[in-house]
Structures are given as C-alpha cells and as structure tokens.
Point group: C2
Chain length 254, copies 2
C-alpha cells in the first residue's frame, strides 16, 4: 500500500504539556517554567515539548517529566510508589491559533508527585518554580500581597492547568490517587493534609481517620511511627493495592 499523499491533509506539530502538581506548605502547587524565547518570552508556562517521531505520547510525557523534574513516571496501571510520580493523559488542545506560530496540537498530561526539594529546569535554576495554583489561576485569597499579581500563563496554559487541577480534585474522591502526593511512607494526618490542600477545605481528623483506615486495601501499616508532624507519634502507612475507593471520599459542600 502506498503512503498518503502528504498534500491531502494538513500537517500538525504535536507537543506534550505537563501539569505537574504537588503539595507544598499546605498548598497545591504546579510546576511552571519561564519561557526563554518568543512568543510569550519571559512569561511562565507549563513544561512541555515536541513529541519525537518514534515516540508514543505517554513516552514523550514521561521523558519531559524526567527532564524537568528528574522524576520517574510509573504506569498508572501498576501502582508501585517507588520514587515515581503518577502520570496520566489529561486532554488534548488543538484550537487553531493557540500557538501564533503554527498549528500545534498539545496532548496535556497530568503528573502528581510528592513534595520535591527544588525544581531543576535544564540547568537554569531560576527558570522553574513551584507556584501555588491559586496564584496561577487568579483565584482570590491566593496572593500574599496585593502587588504579587503574577503574569498570566502563556498560551492557553491557564485553561490546561485548570482542567488538570479539576481532574486531580475529582479523582482523589473516588480513587487512592491522593497517595501519589505523599512519600512512600506517610501518616494519616499527612494524607489528610493532602486532601485539605487539594480541595481547599478543612476535614475532621477523626472522621477522616475512620474513613481511610476503614477502607480495605487503601492503607497498609508499615510498622513504624513518626513524630515529624509534632504531637503524639503517628502510625506510618504505605499505599495499599486498592485503586478505587468505594464508597468514595466525600468532598464537603463548597
């Protein structure tokens, strides 16, 4: 069979963009990099890059994630925590004109990672940072000072980020995905603070404890205890094999 006539369809550039989320200091944060070239030079943007000619979309996303953070993505289907982050496809954005240079279709991916020491962009230290999503999405209450208004994200990345955050918020309701924000061993209180940061609400520690310890397969005790959060020593857990939470964790009204 002969290949298509290349003039029979328009040629697209295909990129992957990453919404990398983590929880730092009780706030949901996203990884953003500063653009070094036009368009949107100097503005913050989501990390990403072109898909190579011989690369699957998931491979390209894992490669970009590794290049930007050093994280090793693990397959969502085999949930061993390890040092890896959770990585899944989010959505695809292909509006004509979203990149002023040419027709670009971007396959956005969502990555959830434990808190990392510091972002490392390609050698350049101050060209990447963890920014609270409340700032990036211009939600009220997200600014330490009035004049701290950050520039809008480049391209349609604010929309992509909002979709990623919404995916994360809804997915921790009915899955054990919140453990992807935690280190390999964590306490019930640390897991609760993940939920509180992602949802932006306060949860009752006693009911939360009852819920997560009472859901079979969600948490398995690792044996040790820790006092790193202060107060009474807390039991350490690992993520269990369960991936779906049934019944789900209920997000409080507004």
């Amino acid at each position: 069979m002969s290949p298509y006539d290349p003039s029979a369809f328009p040629a697209f550039a295909v990129t992957v963009d990453l919404v990398v989320l983590t929880v730092r200091r009780h706030a949901l944060c996203a990884l953003v990099v500063r653009r070094g070239e036009p368009p949107f030079q100097g503005r913050w943007a989501l990390p990403g890059g072109f898909v190579r000619g011989d690369e699957d979309l998931a491979e390209a996303a894992a490669r970009e994630l590794s290049e930007e953070t050093g994280l090793c993505a693990h397959d969502p289907l085999s949930p061993e925590p390890g040092n890896g982050a959770h990585l899944e496809q989010l959505a695809t954005y292909g509006e004509p004109g979203r990149d002023p240079r040419m027709r670009v279709v971007s396959v956005a991916h969502l990555a959830l990672s434990p808190d990392l020491p510091a972002p490392r962009a390609g050698g350049d230290a101050n060209s990447a940072r963890w920014a609270p999503v409340a700032e990036l999405l211009n939600q009220e209450g997200g600014f330490a000072r009035e004049d701290e208004q950050p520039a809008q994200l480049a391209f349609d990345h604010a929309r992509i980020l909002a979709d990623g955050v919404e995916r994360a918020r809804s997915k921790i309701e009915y899955s054990s995905l919140a453990t992807a924000f935690c280190p390999p061993e964590f306490t019930v209180g640390e897991l609760r603070r993940v939920y509180e940061a992602v949802w932006g609400v306060a949860l009752d520690p006693r009911n939360f404890h009852r819920k997560v310890t009472g859901t079979p397969g969600f948490l398995v005790p690792s044996g040790g205890t820790t006092t790193r959060q202060g107060g009474r020593p807390a039991q350490l857990f690992r993520a269990g094999g369960a991936t779906v939470l049934n019944p789900p964790m209920l997000r409080p009204e507004v």
Copy 2:
C-alpha cells in the same frame, strides 16, 4: 516573530475518531463503518476523519458526527436536549505504527445519542451499522450464534471503543448523562433500562424510581403520560438542569 523551522519537529496527521454510543433493544451499541480502502479494507472501524487546517478539535468531531449520523452535537456545558447528542473529548492515541501508512495522532471523542432509526453513512447504506459493544469487544454472551464472531475492529479502535464504553459506564454514575441516551421526553422506566443496558445489570425498579425522582434537578415532569412501554401509564419527564448527581447512582457489584 518567525515561524518554526519545519524541519525542527516531525509532522503529524491529526484525526478525530468517534465512539458513538446508543441503546437499542436493551443493548449498548456503537456506530461502526466499513472501511472501503486499505489498510484494513472491509473491516469495521470507528467513524472519523482528518482535522482540517482551520478547525478546532471539537468542531472536527461535531462535523464528523453530523456527516455520519445527521446528529447535531450540543455543547456539554449547555445541556439542552434538543435533537443533539452529547459530545465530549475522550482521549488521544498516538502510538507510532498505529496507522501503518504514517504517523497519525487521533483525538477520540465520545458521543451519546438516543436511539436513531437507522445509520446513514455517506450515501452507502450497508457500510454503517449499530453493533452491540459486547460483540465488538468480544465479550462472552454477546453473540447470537457461535459463528457470528465479528472481525476485529481496524487499527486500535477496539481499545478506543473500550475506553469510551468505560467512560460512559462510569460517567452515568455521578452525572445525569444517561438522559443523553433518551428522547427529549422519557419515563423513569426508560431511563432505568438505559442504566441496565449500559451497565449490563438489573436494577430494582422501585429503588431506582425513588432515587431518580428524589434527586433534585435530575428530572422535571413534563405533564404527560405514556403507555408506550405497556402496563400502567407512566409519567413523562424531561432532563432537569442538574448535571452532577450527589450522591451518585450506585453501580451494583459485578
């Protein structure tokens, strides 16, 4: 600013593929079309086509849906039933080699429609049909006869279809999306049969009735009644404004 150097990145073809689902004769069915040219000539495939150079992805999906079925897609954000089908982006598939001719990235979309009289493909009557998904996915119990084994779907369309079906199955749990399978006016029993067909389970008519009529905003009575299902006349409803179901409809265990 100058455009990219076209040799700096690989060129892709971008297509949209459609998983169009409906409920016919108590079975969940998908629209498939017969391929008229290689590769996979003569095999069944999901409808789809190239994205045009000036077209958004959602536009392309709506255009293809209209060309294949005559349905008018309505925006998921403005849920007026009308004559339109629900249309949303599903996922994107871009594995190298998924199309043997060239590098193609396909943005799959999911469409849910009420039962239609007959599929109309581009003029050709027997080149499109509604096929039970149980057949297409080779699940047991899906065949009327032993020898009715259908050919595998072309490309990676079986995987795409499976993802679309799983999306539909999970989404009717916590949203009012099941009404997209119903005509503008429908009875509680008809809506229940939608759930039963999509999930492949039997639901208690009394508990189902209590649940859907007790969820505010899910259904609004239209005033009329009908006996088109036989038995006692049933009240007719329209889809209400609510889009999320809280608490969700619970899918019975296996």
